[in-house]
Symmetry: C2
Subunit: 214 residues, 2 copies
Amino acid sequence: MRNAALKADTSLQILDVAEALFSERGFSAVSLREIARQAGVVVSNVTYHHGDKIGILAAIYDRHTRPMNARRIELLGEARRIPDRADRLTAILRAYLLPAFTSSSDLMGGGTRFTRMRALLSAEGDPEAQRIIAQAFDQTTSQFIDAISECLPGASRGDIVWRAHFLLGALYYTLINPERIGRLSKGQITADDNETAIGQLVSATHASLIALSP
Amino acid sequence: MRNAALKADTSLQILDVAEALFSERGFSAVSLREIARQAGVVVSNVTYHHGDKIGILAAIYDRHTRPMNARRIELLGEARRIPDRADRLTAILRAYLLPAFTSSSDLMGGGTRFTRMRALLSAEGDPEAQRIIAQAFDQTTSQFIDAISECLPGASRGDIVWRAHFLLGALYYTLINPERIGRLSKGQITADDNETAIGQLVSATHASLIALSP
DNA sequence: TAAAAACTTGAACAACTGTTCTAAATTGTG
DNA sequence: CACAATTTAGAACAGTTGTTCAAGTTTTTA
């Protein structure tokens, strides 16, 4: 044994490795054996700690969803107190996006990892995974749509839902293809700059929403 | 043999089946055996006609890319003749989106099929597939960005690229998760209505772009 | 019609997948 | 220390994957 403190939590070590791999290649493309190998354990040890393969995914969601949603609601609360409607809308959008990039709490690696994993997952058909995704975030999303709605008198809720939907699609696509921006603009932009991405997402969505309110 | 006319082109039959399956479940999730079974042939016959598994994908791209890009360029040419800049921008966006929904030519099934397949593919890491995707469409995209740029005096090209990038992400996400809109708006919207989706994508992107030009 | 080309078939291959089982080792507890 | 619980290890399982090959069948060509 190399280190008692590390050895105690093989379970977390497995989750860390699995999360890193899932965020790179998606769920079905990663095998239990590769997770086990990188975690320095044997396959049966992985299933011992987390049961099914989908159990690993559920555990990863478990440790991220709560703090991430909490951070969002917290920032949303602050944003709602801004009197000017346009400024408030900007703050609401940032409250939605920031936790997706900075991740929940201080979990290692860039914060985009968990969000990118969710982006890849949303494109895989796995029904079990879809169920986990849906129940974890749709509720929070509804609260944001309500807050956005209050900034846009006269705008229909349906139109707002569409634009919030587009925001998520744009976010996911950016995380999945971070190099594509650079390719199209011939290397003048670096898309792995999170601050730039957030700013562009916010301003683009802000404009698309403001246009709904006369 | 049941029908001489059908039997002649097993190759096309295989492509049709493969395209339908890829657009439903993605590339890696579909096995050659399932393609073969649904096409009514044996596995080795599939590889005889198209070589690798990636060869099937390349063949599918081959028969779609050219007509789809041609239609786009044609519509783009018409759009460019519109004098009013705001109206022209709308026409340009529709010129980009329409061929993605109505598909190239009269190939069977809804036109969204090929586009949805590309959406799923963009989320899979497969390097070979990524190469095919990139070379097939980035060039056309550049032409559209140029046309958009002419509608927006004073707007930086980088900002435009970001918003075009977001448009593609929103489009893909909508095709991948067509039921999500309905879930969030509690069943008041049906997202499988292509006309609605196109209209929402156009108006949202239009607003996000117009805001760039003072 | 006879030879050549194009096509189809069935079987086999090596590799990999998630899951399960029993036995060994480690740890915690009295 | 001794006993029990937790954790790790290794092997085996039944199934699927993409690819290949030799032998047939059909169609085209000369």
